[in-house]
Amino acid sequence: MDSQGEPTMERAQQIEYLLRLADSPLVLAHRLSQWCGHGPVLEEDLALANISLDLLGQARLLYQHAAALAGGDASEDRYAYFRDVPEFGNFTMLELPNSGVASAGAGDPDYAFTIVRNAMYAAWQVELWQRLTDSSDAQLAAIAAKSLKEARYHLEHAADWMIRFGDGTDESHARAQRALDSLVPYASEWFVPDALDAEACAAGVGIDCAAIRSPWLERMHTIAGEATLRWPGDSEFCSTGKLGRHSEHLGYLLTEMQSVARAHPDAAW
């Protein structure tokens, strides 16, 4: 079922916008799945596996919608498994390894880093999905209404832990602060529209991504304040993941995630 309504932007552009929306939850879902069996306690192992499943489900619905618009041999699997790094439009923050920014992919996974990243992204998703429930793309609006409920729950989970870490021991506070300091610069690109964002917004398909910065910041400041964490100052840095220019980490992530599908390209699952 795809009630797309009247096309309000070029179809190719609309598909690209949907893929960009889908790539972020897919990539974070993969990062979170890497905690499976390695969570600090069983309850958190379950939590991250389920959050990962929710995000994967969101990505699938968006890919399926894009594939329905594209027609031909387009499919969710083709989008997830047979595109390469420059074709992915996920935010750079979400591809960073669980061990943190400075680790260069080596070292132990850091739960504070995962929690702070999840809190920031879930808070962003709450703003995103809330607004997309009014999208002129009816199927996207339906996906948004479902995903909003999940994002709120993810935010509750991550915010509670962020507060517990920040307002916890010296060690947990220091690690949460380090995570926040290293992650905040990567949020800049979330709020800087490019031509595709502007077009999607003008067509009523997408959101005004600059406009959600203020409610997002207010929510994050409140959580950080409660967690006794200091919000880092502004930085000049702006990552470019949504434009397809990624950190070194996405290539390794995709290689792992896509290896089975690429080894058996005609397999039916």
Binding site: M1, L42, E43, L46, A47, A49, N50, S52, L53, D54, L55, L56, G57, Q58, R60, L61, V126, E127, Q130, A138, Q139, A141, A142, I143, A145, K146, S147, K149, E150, R152, Y153, L155, E156, H157, A159, D160, I163, S214, P215, E218, R219, T222, I223, E226
Partner: protein, 178 residues
């Protein structure tokens, strides 16, 4: 056609949920409708959670039941809107859940069940702090005590949280309001 649609509704409606077999697809509100679509019956299903692994199992079960009952021409379609909510779980199903040992979900409509919803209803900029502390607590499905504690936000399936009753000391699943 009307009789066929009613027969299909009855057939599909009583298929048990694969994860919680005491309740049916009709009980849970997963079966949205059975309609006449260009002369062929169409079964409309709605997914619960986006990532729920049972969604595909449910669609396969429905397909199998339709084929076995001679409704091979019936289509099975997924509809996303309106988004599934636990408010669609009726009183009878709530009783069945309780008897099975699962605390039924609190109502989402009217009194928003989670602090995040209350914040969302009050306006976008409303801060949200430690909301779990303010969530309504389920009653123990075994002894009825309201003296319970949350153990894990996720339980044996994505739709359930894990609780412990502090009166009878039994752990139990809570079907989360959604």
């Amino acid at each position: 056609m009307t009789a066929r649609l009613a027969a299909i509704r009855e057939l599909v409606g009583r298929i048990p949920d694969p994860e919680i077999p005491v309740v049916t697809l009709a009980d849970l509100g997963i079966l949205r409708d059975v309609i006449d679509e260009d002369g062929a019956p169409a079964v409309l299903l709605t997914p619960t959670y986006n990532g729920c692994p049972a969604t595909e199992a449910i669609a396969a079960q429905v397909r199998e039941a339709l084929d076995a009952a001679g409704f091979a021409d019936a289509r099975v379609r997924t509809v996303l809107s309106p988004a599934w909510t636990t408010d669609w779980i009726g009183e009878d199903a709530r009783r069945k859940l309780r008897e099975y040992g699962i605390a039924p979900p609190a109502c989402m409509a009217g009194a928003a069940a989670s602090a995040a919803d209350r914040a969302a209803q009050a306006g976008a900029g409303v801060p949200m702090i430690a909301p779990m502390l303010r969530q309504p607590q389920p009653a123990c499905p075994r002894c009825g005590s309201a003296d319970v504690e949350s153990i894990s936000r996720w339980g044996s399936t994505p739709c359930k949280a894990h609780y412990r009753c502090l009166a009878c000391r039994e752990p139990f699943d809570y079907f989360k309001p959604y």
